[in-house]
């Protein structure tokens, strides 16, 4: 009778034992990027596999997930599922998602494939490879889910072209470019740990619950199906950080610096999700502030308490981050509303009911700072003077978001920081972004800042209109401007038979 192997032993024999010591080449040449970041790995064999999924089980379970998912996509398309969404405004959240988020899944696929080749330890490598192929799954299922919406709504059709060019999309793009341009260990702390463990929950869990609440069967299905992989990814992220901290004490300050950097960068990136949650979901699930409290403060807090034994503390500027939850979504949506002619989706004034909901959810800030703006916008709109800002915004050199954030202790004043590097002055939206630049100026001076590029004539022109229509390939007046009077709105009314 054969001896019974438990899952850990079996995984070790099937997978961990595949590597060997080189005799004919220098092994460092095969894994050349492990040392330059200063991280010290003394023993890869100490790596604990988070989940011990062999390929045969992987194929089996993933195929089952895909079968379910595509059955729903088929039904959704055959039954014109787009007619069931709560309100056509909702679809604009999907436009932001497909142009801003799905291409990040693609970059995660590329990034994890890179580190999945470069790590010297087979356990870590295989976990990264599985994440690479999962991320490919996510971008592809998202495209397939949106494929049907693309047939009936404007603004999704050039998602890939736009991601490489459009001003606000350089925020997510540069975030992932930054991580991929870093060394393999920083990439893991940036994406595997900071982003996957703490921040993607905010994107996928409450937002997808919101999709369900707004009648979007396709999105909630891919969202939750993707999350079922995410649980593996989160655990990989946590395993990586514990492994690095346990390998050598010299790793602790390096890891802390990366945590400080990537949590700040991540919260900046999530500004757009804050706006989607509070303003773009007609049926509300929870406010951004509430989601932030559950998934960042509570879950992240527990995590950092657990990591304290390694000498890791909460990310720098956590105090600022805590204050920002009251303001982010309002400042961002206002910016898009006033730049609605240059966005790839529609914007609108929240309904009275929605304004009341925001007042209720943000009792300390909304009525005081933000509601008056919307009341004014309403008056202007009623007079037929819907307001658009002309002129190009100044962008933060690090996060690339327009200077829209205020001082958190004085929400009436825009926050500006700057720094002179080699005779040139660079501008930042916050202390967090300033510090990130100062630590690696040679990296961030390279940023492809969309507004600079337009001004330098690298995006066509001569006018902004040509940049938008020719370089960005936006259909002006169709893909963008106010929701009111848009072709999306007209078609919706036709389908629903309302005047």
């Amino acid at each position: 009778m054969a001896k019974k192997l438990n899952i850990k032993e079996k995984y070790r024999l099937l997978t961990r034992d595949l590597d060997w010591e080189f005799s004919y080449q220098d092994r460092k040449k095969a894994f050349p990027y492990e040392e330059f970041e200063g991280i010290k790995i003394t023993d890869w064999s100490k790596w604990e596999d988070p989940f011990r999924l062999t390929m045969d089980s992987y194929w089996k379970y993933q195929a089952e997930k895909e079968k379910k998912l595509y059955a729903i996509f088929d039904a959704f398309q055959q039954n014109n599922g787009h007619l069931n969404v709560s309100d056509p405004r909702y679809v604009n959240a999907l436009k932001v998602f497909l142009t801003g988020v799905s291409p990040l899944e693609y970059q995660a696929y590329q990034g994890f494939a890179h580190v999945g080749r470069q790590f010297g330890g087979v356990g870590a490598r295989v976990a990264c490879q599985m994440q690479a192929i999962d991320e490919l799954r996510h971008v592809q299922t998202q495209i397939h889910a949106m494929s049907h919406y693309n047939k009936y709504f404007d603004g999704l059709q050039e998602f890939s072209h736009m991601h490489d060019r459009v001003w606000y999309l350089s925020v997510p793009k540069s975030f992932f470019n930054d991580a991929r341009a870093a060394g393999p260990f920083e990439f893991m702390i940036a994406i595997g740990f900071s982003f996957e463990y703490v921040l993607t929950n905010l994107l996928f869990v409450p937002f997808m619950s919101g999709a369900a609440h707004n009648g979007d069967m396709a999105t909630v299905t891919f969202g939750f199906s993707a999350q079922s992989d995410e649980a593996r990814h989160m655990t990989l992220g946590l395993e990586v950080i514990k492994f690095l901290l346990e390998q050598h004490e010299d790793n602790v300050p390096i890891v802390q610096k990366w945590i400080d950097k990537w949590f700040w960068r991540g919260t900046r990136l999530l500004t757009i999700v804050a706006m989607m949650m509070d303003y773009m979901l007609p049926n509300k699930v929870m406010s951004w502030k509430e989601a932030w409290e559950v998934y960042f403060e509570e879950a992240g807090g527990a995590l950092f308490k657990d990591l304290a034994r390694y000498g890791i503390r909460m990310p720098k500027y956590s105090d600022v981050i805590e204050k920002e939850k009251e303001h982010l979504s309002h400042q961002a949506w206002w910016t898009f509303y006033t730049h609605g002619h240059a966005a790839g989706f529609h914007t609108w004034i929240p309904t009275d009911e929605e304004l009341d909901w925001l007042s209720e959810k943000y009792p300390d800030t909304f009525d005081k700072y933000y509601r008056p703006r919307w009341e004014l916008a309403k008056e202007l709109e009623a007079k037929g003077e819907r307001f658009y800002t002309s002129g190009l915004p100044q962008l933060c050199q690090t996060c690339q978001i327009p200077m829209l954030f205020t001082e958190m202790d004085n929400p009436g004043e825009i926050c500006y920081r700057d720094h002179v590097h080699e005779g040139e002055r660079y501008h930042f939206c916050s202390d967090g972004c300033h510090d990130i630049f100062v630590d690696e100026p040679e990296k961030y001076v390279q940023a492809w800042l969309p507004v600079h590029q337009i001004l330098q004539g690298n995006c066509g022109g001569p006018g902004v209109e040509e940049v938008l229509s020719e370089y960005y390939r936006m259909n002006l007046g169709v893909d963008n401007m106010d929701m009111k009077g848009s072709p999306d709105e007209k078609r919706w009314k036709q389908w629903k038979g309302v005047a």
Binding site: A2, K3, L5, K10, L13, L14, T15, D17, L18, W20, S23, Y24, Q25, Y33, F36, T54, M55, D56, Y58, W59, K60, Q62, A63, E66, Y70, Y106, Q110, A113, R117, V122, R125, V126, Q129, I133, L136, Q140, I143, H144, K151, F153, D154, Q157, E158, F159, S160, H161, H163, D164, R165, S170, D178, R180, A181, A182, G183, K443, Y444, Q446, W448, R473
Partner: protein, 328 residues
């Protein structure tokens, strides 16, 4: 009687995404097309990689092969993630039932000691070759251009990890889960003369920088030779000598190779047809790695099979290359 359903108001505004329409015309697209074409970022990268500051994040100059459009590498299987995992799930279901049958009936006890020795000596060390193939294909995924090709390389890479795990399971079946056979096989991989050429070749591929060259060396040259020698010639020899049940355990590899060849042939053909320069470059790489692989495999092929075995495998390779438009 015909039924007319009023659908005019539900006419789609467009059939597919704009980049798909530019390539394939204004008509509904397949899921493979929408999941594959022009998905990768191509321009305006923000920062140069710290790990390779002379290149962009996505950079065609990471290989000497030149393509006007990297999406020319259409996968004839049209695998995107969903179709890929479903195809492999079917194969693994069949494999699982064969492995379960083999174990339940304890078919290993019907194998002679000589057959068991052969499997440990010739088959099990290949799991390290599969591991190399995993790394080489994932390398192509990280370095390569265009989703059409990079996704297919990742599927290949993950397949190879799966095959390495199946080979390991064969070892555990042979040794009753003691892992002794796996340890023996690894010892042979590290020390036995018949394996050193191949191990040196694997290590050399792992330090080769040009990703397309690596894919040519691994997926086209070495795999064609190894799969012919082992899963065709050794398989026949085992069957002829009464160890035909082993084929239950290697059927996955045989089915996989058939499937993978379809893709590999298309890659070779597309790269060759692109330009005379590409053809010359491929022929240069193929000649180089064919020579190295033949030398590396000679002692193994001779001992495992016979003096002519390698010649037969080389003939299979040459025919394959010829079919793709190379060396003619």
């Amino acid at each position: 009687m015909s039924i007319e359903i009023k659908t005019a108001t539900l006419e789609p505004v467009r059939n597919t995404f704009a980049h798909i329409e530019r390539r394939f015309g204004d008509k509904p697209a397949t899921r493979y097309q929408e999941a594959t074409y022009d998905v990768a970022s191509e321009t305006n990268f923000h920062y140069r990689p710290l790990w390779q500051p002379d290149k962009l994040l996505q950079d065609a100059s990471r290989t000497r092969l030149v393509m006007a459009d990297w999406y020319a590498f259409r996968d004839p299987r049209q695998f995107y993630y969903g179709t890929y995992v479903q195809s492999r799930a079917k194969m693994q279901e069949a494999a699982e039932s064969s492995y379960a049958f083999f174990e339940k009936r304890d078919l290993a006890r019907l194998l002679s000691d000589d057959h068991k020795t052969q499997l440990i000596r010739y088959l099990l060390p290949l799991r390290h070759v599969e591991q190399t193939a995993n790394l080489n294909n994932v390398y192509g995924t990280g370095q390569g251009m265009g989703t059409a090709l990079t996704q297919a390389m990742l599927y290949n890479g993950m397949d190879r990890l799966g095959i390495a795990q199946y080979l390991s399971r064969i070892g555990l079946i042979l040794d009753g889960n003691t892992a002794e056979s796996l340890a023996q096989a690894k010892q042979l991989w590290m020390d036995a003369d018949i394996w050193q050429g191949l191990r040196a070749l694997c290590e050399e591929m792992l330090v080769t920088e040009d990703w397309f060259e690596v894919v040519v060396a691994q997926d086209m040259v070495l795999d064609t030779l190894v799969y012919d020698l082992v899963y065709s010639q050794l398989d026949a020899q085992l069957a002829d000598s009464g160890a035909q049940d082993v084929a239950m355990l290697t059927e996955f590899m045989q089915d996989w190779w058939k499937d993978n060849q379809r893709w590999g042939d298309a890659v070779l053909k597309t790269a060759t047809a692109e330009s005379a320069d590409n053809k010359a470059l491929l022929e240069q790489w193929l000649t180089l790695w064919r020579g190295k692989a033949a030398e590396a495999l000679a002692p193994l092929a001779t001992e495992m099979l016979d003096e002519q075995a390698l010649e037969r495998a080389l003939a299979v390779l040459d025919k394959r290359l010829n079919k793709a438009g190379l060396f003619r």
